[in-house]
Symmetry: C2
Subunit: 264 residues, 2 copies
């Protein structure tokens, strides 16, 4: 939708499992044409895989026969190491797969929630490897800039480590926070909990995939959180208000300094 | 501000430690007049204590000499057991203290962030005891209804148990989540983390007070969260995507069912 609204490509095609999704995407103005098979990919200069992480990986071998020489293949998956590694193993030698992760979106998913302005003022992380064509990296960077995004470069593993803290851990926490609260108590919830738990409404299949795909990094950041949480409870048990205030002040400073304006 | 905008009282006075705050409150239209001492309380029909929990408790003995017979004393503190118990011990026999907690507000505090519409469509929990005058309970209920709030009744301890889950635990988590994330990584944060961590910008003194005042209940709900979190990490370690999806689905259901519209 964003590509067509900004006139970035001469033609956008969509490939989906169902005709129904294709019809919706056409009606929404997101695609010029749509298909339920991979053959039309051989005409494409840029292929963007947009599905849950493990489906992206499964799709690589399915699209392999249809990739024309010179085509850039990329994705929008929330974890990068596994996808980039799989692409290297599965795709043919000449194929140029460059991992991408636009830090944009909401708890809503599917074509019904599509929004052509989604990437404006957002940040897109690209995770190219040394083997990638420099020209294609620049082309993909230009593509995201043209969509209104800023672009950062990280290695796949640096990306996965950072997002394990900034995205995966908050989701992990939100799901378990809601799991912990008795349903009958939720009528007393106010805006604090509503906002803290917004991301708990995210798609279960997408997030189970992300967690499993990045589990090594997530287990580390979750462990760090557990350590801090446990330490805080000990301060609380001993009634150490002075040190409790210190921790809260540091957290508030981080929030006020770095998170008042974030990548949308 | 809300009282004056709705014309609920013939006169509203504010008592603050500093003349500066009083002048701001006057300028903002929140009070008719303001003072830095407690004497004017003897003319009041309704006294509302609005400060961090332990300051509310400290203030009780200070206002004690100035409470006229028939005056209703109430508060807006986020925990109720300790305050209601202290009021019972400190205030004179005839004084009618009725605990209140409007589930409204944001991470911002102080007269500079005052908003006369804050209580509209919100929920206010009253925690009267059997000793309270039935007439005064009704009067206080009418007061909150007149401010645009709905009103619920709970015992102080039921209130503290519920809010330990719906409010105190999410704050505890938000502070420790930010404590866990390396500051350098925060430039990669997106709207998910921003919203999840909004409440981490809350006032440190207010929240240290709330935590300590309600620590017994909070330690229990935090323990429940720790158990669920730990269990989830074990599922992640073993790659049990089926059960991970189950947990996320349950959390998403709770979020979608009970938290899409909450008390503002």
């Amino acid at each position: 939708m964003a590509i067509r609204q900004r006139g970035i490509a001469s033609r956008v095609i969509g490939i989906s499992r169902t005709k129904k999704t294709i019809n919706k995407a056409k009606k929404a103005g997101a695609i010029d044409d749509g298909f339920c098979d991979f053959k039309p990919l051989s005409d494409c200069e840029l292929i963007i895989l947009c599905s849950p992480v493990n489906i992206i990986i499964n799709t690589l071998s399915k699209i392999k026969p249809f990739i024309a020489p010179g085509t850039i293949i990329t994705d929008v998956g929330s974890t990068k190491s596994e996808i980039v590694k799989s692409a290297g193993m599965i795709l043919p030698k000449g194929a140029d797969f460059i991992g991408a992760h636009p830090l944009a979106g909401s708890e809503k998913s599917g074509i019904d929630n599509a929004n052509g302005g989604l990437f404006e003022k957002s940040l897109c992380v690209l995770t190219p490897l040394k083997a990638n064509s420099k020209k294609n990296i620049r082309r993909l960077e230009s593509f995201w800039l043209a969509l209104g995004s800023r672009v950062s470069f990280l290695t796949p593993s640096a990306h996965d480590k950072i997002t394990s803290f900034t995205s995966h851990l908050p989701h992990l926490i939100a799901f378990n926070l809601l799991e912990s609260i008795p349903a009958v108590d939720l009528r007393y919830a106010a805006s604090g909990l509503r906002d803290a738990a917004r991301i708990a409404a995210s798609d279960p299949l997408v997030w189970a995939d992300i967690f499993i795909s990045n589990r090594a990094a997530i287990l580390k950041s979750a462990g760090k959180f557990q350590t801090h949480f446990d330490k805080f409870l000990k301060l609380l048990k001993s009634g150490d208000s002075k040190r409790i205030i210190q921790v809260i002040k540091k957290a508030k400073f981080k929030r006020d300094t770095f998170l008042n304006k974030v990548n949308e």
